[in-house]
């Protein structure tokens, strides 16, 4: 592998982490969705680059799936959901941008240390790739933990899944079946969550998960 190929792969994976960071501090839902679309687009690019580098044509399929489903269909669908729920003007109080960003930086550092320590035998590209993928997963989890709105939790979950796809393509020889099944499971999760969003909304007039907690608190 030439150093240029390595650098580009590195750049794309790094951009994915950067996009995750951008999602961390978006407090408007539309903006969050737009960044998510960018996130998925970068993922598609990164996977396509891996396909080119590894001479693995089936990865192009994965890239296409990522582009069509994650960068287009899911953001558009979520846009419509937000519009129909009428929450596009809601501003989410994130815990505090500075604190969240610091936590995110810590997580990235942690995933670097972990990955560099546990994979000394693997080749350099896979190591870097896995470290970035783990950062993306952890950042996705962080988004889920710090948000209160159910829609943004869904977006956090989707970005987490992007991290998984990145990890899967970085490792050579991952069969296509696995990737397709992961993509489909995410799609199904998305549908289920979408339905749930409307059910929650129907019952509580809000998709703020605190409403659920209040409800449980009363029943206890």
């Amino acid at each position: 592998m030439s150093s240029l190929q390595f650098d580009i792969a590195h750049l794309l994976a790094g951009s994915l982490v950067l996009a995750s960071f951008m999602m961390l501090y978006q407090d408007r839902l539309y903006a969050l969705l737009n960044v998510y679309a960018v996130h998925a687009g970068v993922l598609a690019l990164s996977v396509a680059w891996q396909a080119y580098v590894q001479q693995a044509p089936h990865l192009y399929v994965t890239a296409l799936i990522a582009l069509v489903f994650k960068a287009v269909i899911i953001p558009v669908a979520l846009h419509r959901i937000i519009k129909r729920l009428g929450i596009h003007r809601e501003i989410e109080s994130v815990i505090g941008i500075g604190l969240t960003m610091m936590a995110g930086i810590g997580l990235v550092a942690l995933s670097m240390v972990v990955m560099l320590r546990v994979t000394p035998g693997a080749d350099a590209l896979a190591r870097e790739d896995l470290a970035f993928a783990l950062s993306v997963v952890l950042l996705g989890l962080l988004i889920m933990v710090t948000r209160r709105n159910a829609v943004s939790q869904v977006v956090g979950f989707m970005s987490l899944e992007n991290g998984l796809v990145l990890a899967a393509t970085g490792a050579k020889g991952m069969p296509l079946v696995v990737e397709i099944s992961v993509a489909f499971s995410v799609l199904i999760a998305f549908i289920v969550i979408g339905i749930f969003l409307f059910r929650i909304r129907e019952r509580f007039d809000s998709v703020d998960v605190q409403a659920l907690d209040r409800f449980r608190g009363e029943r206890r």
């Binding site: 997580l107 942690l110 995933s111 240390v113 972990v114 320590r117 546990v118 952890l138 989890l141 962080l142 889920m144 933990v145 209160r148 998960v209 605190q210 659920l212 907690d213 449980r216 206890r220």
Partner: protein
């Protein structure tokens, strides 16, 4: 041989779905118990012929079930054959008894499907030749017996019994699982591979302790006995008989199989542990039994005593084997195995008797019984035989096995190690005490329940039980007598087992004059049950006929002597509590923290004065109650986790992940 055995087990399992169907039919229980009787009899005869004629053949079989790369291994060596005889003799007797007794069952759907499954489970434990099949069958046996324990689930007491039993059974299986895990670490799960491996001394020591915990909790060794007196009486009586008479023996089998067979040569301290548990178990078990008023509970506690005797025998065998005295080890081991057989006989018999009394009167409380010998003479006779046998009186079988155990104890001065030399006589003392208490206990059980005058209307109107139940009891009583007067046959039949397990056998007994048994040498000791029996029978008949001939043989009825009190109240008879009061006063104040509280009503109050007796199970208070309290405390604290918000759960997962990653990173 083994094919016949496995097919019979399969037949038992096939009876399980039949039991579900049959439980709704009016005559269903007869068909089901008849099927069980046939299957267990086949197994019993197969195993017996294997033990007597082909003990060294040890056929094995592998079935393609269980773990995919392992399969299920079965083997029928002498030890398995002997325990199969015990299990299926008890099973056949219980099935025969249940042909009559099962008709009294109110909810047969809760008993019939589980009964054959339970029998099959016990058989598979004994036949299994790999750790996986053994543990699965063991747990199957535990679960089916648990289902039978809670079959009368409307009574709160039974539900509690089932709960405690389930907990202790899980604990026991866990201990066995760990033991097999340690054993299999070097060899794999197949018993043949484990036998061939050479585990280290530390590992075998841990295995012995774990097996003692696992098999001991199922057998009822003190202090792991707490579930036994709750669970055994709660089941229907024929199942109680099986649990006490047979399932505890399956636990003994587990212990013998692992410690004597799978592990390498014993070390002296193993025997120390076993003896220090076995002796106190015997004495404490029977002391508990003496304090009880419930017939089935007395019997359950007495099972603990007998398990103590068996484990003492096994401990002696380990001690002598570890010190190289093979021939004494064979004596102690044979004594223990003989007691296994004997106890299965008379404990089943006594539980059946208790079941017959329960069916006739609806009472288990001795204070409400009495005078049953007039109403149920045949049952009374069978139970009398059982009581004499379990009290270890000649010429019945209990005496033989306990006497042999004492013969081994008397040889303890030949041991080189001082620790064992000091401990074994002390354990012998405990056993002697237990034997005396057992006699008192069964005099009380028989005297209060069957003699005297009825203490309640139900006892006064009891009816003799049905002929199936009577046949089962009388057959067992006959076995007790035969094993008592012809012990030589049984000792010789056990020779291959002893040869396999301790590497030596007792001297051959059959062929000695008058069927005497001579465990060591004629100059030391010998016993002849046949002569004792003939002498006792002759003397008794002669005395009775002499009295009838020479004195008046007319039947006379006169008022019973009432200690000078003219009150005709039936409560003035000896009661179960008053019979055991002296022993309670001497031992109970220390062992049970017993207190007698006299409650005097204030003057001019019409209330009667009352004497209340308070007994505490100190082992329960000191060992089980704190554990239960600690677990309750912890679960109360952890319970908060059930009511967190979604975000908190997510955060918990997240934090856990971060912590684990940090552990990896640092």
């Amino acid at each position: 041989m083994i094919a016949v055995a496995l097919w019979s087990v399969a037949a038992l399992l096939a009876l399980v779905p039949a039991g579900i169907v049959l439980s709704t039919r009016p005559r269903g229980s007869i068909i089901l118990y008849g099927g069980c009787l046939i299957a267990t009899s086949t197994l019993c005869v197969t195993a017996l012929s294997d033990l007597l004629y082909f003990p060294h053949l040890a056929p094995s079989a592998t079935l393609p079930i269980g773990l995919p790369w392992l399969g299920a291994h079965f083997r029928l060596d002498a030890l398995s054959a002997f325990f199969l005889v015990v299990v299926n003799l008890g099973g056949a007797a219980a099935s025969l008894f249940a042909l009559g007794y099962g008709q009294h069952e109110d909810s047969p759907g809760r008993v019939l499907p589980f009964y054959p499954a339970y029998l099959a489970g016990m058989n598979v434990v004994v036949l299994a030749n790999d750790a996986f099949s053994f543990l699965v069958a063991w747990e199957f046996m535990s679960l089916t017996s648990w289902a039978l324990v809670v079959s009368h689930h409307r009574e709160a007491e039974n539900v509690r019994a089932g709960y405690v039993y389930l907990l202790m059974a899980s604990f026991g299986t866990l201990a066995l699982l760990l033991a097999f895990g340690l054993l299999a670490s070097g060899a794999g799960y197949d018993f043949d591979a484990i036998r061939a491996s050479h585990p280290s001394a530390a590992l075998t020591g841990m295995v012995v302790i774990l097996v003692l915990l696992g098999a001991g909790s199922k057998a009822g060794l003190v202090p792991l006995h707490a579930w036994l007196p709750l669970a055994h009486p709660a089941a229907p009586s024929h199942v109680s008989g099986l649990m006490s008479g047979v399932m505890t023996k399956v636990a003994v089998y587990g212990f013998v199989r692992i410690v004597f067979d799978l592990l390498p040569e014993p070390v002296w301290w193993w025997s120390m542990v076993v003896l220090l548990v076995g002796g106190p178990t015997a004495t404490l078990g029977v002391l508990y039994a003496l304090m009880q008023r419930d017939i089935k509970r007395v019997l359950a506690y007495s099972t603990i005593e007998n398990i103590g005797i068996i484990f003492t025998g096994l401990g002696l065998a380990l001690a002598f084997k570890a010190e190289g005295l093979d021939w004494v080890a064979a004596l102690a081991f044979t004594a223990a195995m003989l007691h296994v057989f004997n106890h299965a006989l008379f404990k089943s018999l006594l539980f059946f008797g208790a079941g017959a009394v329960l069916a006739a009167t609806g009472e288990r409380d001795m204070e409400k019984l009495g005078g049953l010998i007039h109403r149920m003479p045949k049952t009374a006779f069978a139970v009398l035989v059982g009581c004499v046998a379990i009290s270890a009186l000649p010429p019945f079988n209990g005496f033989v096995s306990e006497w042999l155990t004492f013969q081994a104890i008397l040889l303890s001065p030949q041991l080189p190690s001082w620790g064992l030399k000091l401990i074994i006589p002390a354990v012998g003392g405990l056993l002697a005490l237990a034997a005396a208490f057992a006699a008192a206990c069964f005099v009380k059980l028989y005297g209060i329940s069957f003699l005297g005058r009825p203490r309640s209307d139900v006892a006064a109107s009891a009816r003799e039980t049905d002929r199936f139940s009577l046949t089962a009891m009388l057959v067992l009583a006959a076995f007790c007598l035969v094993a008592g007067i012809l012990p030589a046959l049984f000792i010789d039949a056990l020779a291959p087992v002893s040869k396999d397990m301790v590497g030596n056998i007792m001297p051959h007994q059959v062929g000695l004059q008058w069927l005497t048994i001579v465990p060591i040498a004629e100059s030391r000791s010998s016993y002849n049950g046949l002569l004792v029996f003939l002498f006792a029978a002759l003397c008794g008949t002669a005395a009775a006929s002499a009295i009838h001939r020479l004195a008046s043989d007319r039947l006379r009825r006169a008022p019973a002597w009432d200690c000078g009190y003219p009150d005709p109240n039936l409560a003035i008879q000896y009661s179960a509590s008053s019979f055991s009061q002296p022993i309670r006063r001497v031992f109970g104040s220390v062992i049970f923290a017993a207190r007698e509280i006299g409650e005097m009503p204030p003057p001019s109050s019409p209330l009667p004065a009352r004497l209340r007796v308070e007994l505490h199970d100190l082992i329960w208070d000191a060992l089980y109650a704190p554990i239960a309290k600690a677990i309750g405390f912890a679960t109360d604290r952890i319970n908060i986790l059930q009511f967190l918000t979604i975000r908190r759960y997510l955060t918990l997962v997240f934090v856990a992940l971060i912590v684990l990653l940090l552990v990896v990173a640092l």
